[in-house]
Symmetry: C2
């Protein structure tokens, strides 16, 4: 959910084992190194000790809303969606997690949302109790975590503005812009931007229906704002155009 600047950005290309197999996670250790940039060698060694990586297929539920929150996750590769449901099945996706993002943090004892993989995903697991112990020992990590939560909060407020007040077209443009910006922060190319999630997922993220998402994409394509490329890529024709469209300016 939170995006962090990493000194490096390539993901672990370890041809990892099928779902649920577990092994130590060296890539994530490096990530964590950056997260806790100021940590001492000893502290890093201790952190690395508790890290494990797991690989999941698309459509796998990592954890469900209400389950006891025993693990903090970091995305090593792939995309994860987190969402909340209403009793009748209406769904709101509250975030897409990309490599480098953390999720599963909870101050209560249970998860407040469901987390599900969108693509094949590698996750680095931080057992909650051991993580908390580390936090007590190393205030710098605490601080970093707080700053991550604050960033997420700011993003959440942007999303509220989007959900409450933007039109369908503005929502789609904002979404593409967001993906592009996040790609840039992770050191990937921002244009064309990779859109790994389905129309239905985009709809549930933006408070729309799949039909409206689809129609809006064709509309943007027709008016030469974007073009749709092979492999779920979207080419943005004019970034400034898109920026204006995203804010209704």
């Amino acid at each position: 959910m939170s995006t962090i600047d990493f000194a490096y950005s390539r993901d672990a290309n370890t041809k990892a084992d099928p779902a649920a197999e577990i092994h130590p996670c060296s890539a994530c250790t490096v990530r964590t190194l950056t997260v806790c940039a100021a940590l001492e060698a000893e502290e890093l060694r201790r952190l690395a000790e508790i890290l494990q990586t797991t690989r999941f297929d698309p459509g796998h539920t990592v954890f469900g809303e209400g389950e006891p929150a025993e693990t903090l996750y970091n995305v090593t590769s792939g995309t994860v969606k987190v969402y909340k449901l209403l009793p009748d099945g209406r769904r709101q996706i509250t975030g897409f997690l990309l490599p480098g993002d953390f999720f599963g943090l909870s101050v209560n004892d249970s998860y407040a949302y469901t987390a599900e993989t969108v693509t094949p995903v590698s996750l680095c697991r931080f057992p909650r109790r051991r993580m908390e112990a580390l936090l007590d020992e190393f205030p710098k990590m605490q601080r970093r975590l707080f700053s991550m939560a604050s960033n997420e909060l700011a993003a959440a407020q942007d999303q509220m503005l989007l959900l409450g007040r933007k039109t369908a077209k503005e929502k789609i443009c904002s979404f593409l812009l967001l993906l592009s910006q996040r790609a840039s922060r992770r050191g990937h190319k921002t244009n064309p931007v990779h859109v790994p999630m389905s129309r239905a997922d985009i709809a549930d993220y933006l408070g729309l229906t799949t039909e409206t998402v689809s129609r809006t994409f064709t509309q943007l394509k027709t008016s030469r704002v974007i073009s749709l490329l092979e492999g779920n890529k979207v080419q943005i024709q004019d970034m400034d155009d898109l920026l204006d469209l995203a804010e209704g300016a």
Copy 2:
């Protein structure tokens, strides 16, 4: 934005001076005491030193989006709204702050939203730099702040579900329920619940128009779910009813 459980809950009834007058804030010191429950006497003394209280009239802008974030605020009495604007003036209120709530925290150097008073308000000010220094010294405060941010994040996700997927009726019912719950957590009576903000503010919080808010209130009144009392109070007839209506169950 965040709600915290306080050992005590009555607000400072000090007949304070007109807008912008400043004096030491003893009530807030007590609040902060609870926030940092585990702090030592010396730590508390240091905190009390940096606190100041200011009183504002309704409709006063405490700070605007984009201004340098130099102060963290705690609501001593009254109600504050925080919102974001689109270039053409569309507004999304992202939260109402009640006594005990903090706002104005920013990891960046500028505020991400505008904060404006709804009722007469007393605010306790925490200068940012001195606050940060204290946080460095006392990790427990850092921890408490993190937990507050996490709670706010969970609330933000609930609000996204509301904005993206709920009907007007469900939104209004959820809103009343939220006010009631927050009143309860602050040790006030939960029914009838005090609704200090205008229809327009409620509309901008729920992603509706004033007309729809008004219509929905009368609709709920007609169907005997609530009744509107004197002094901006709303009597909830059946709490369970309301809870079902809020989730579309």
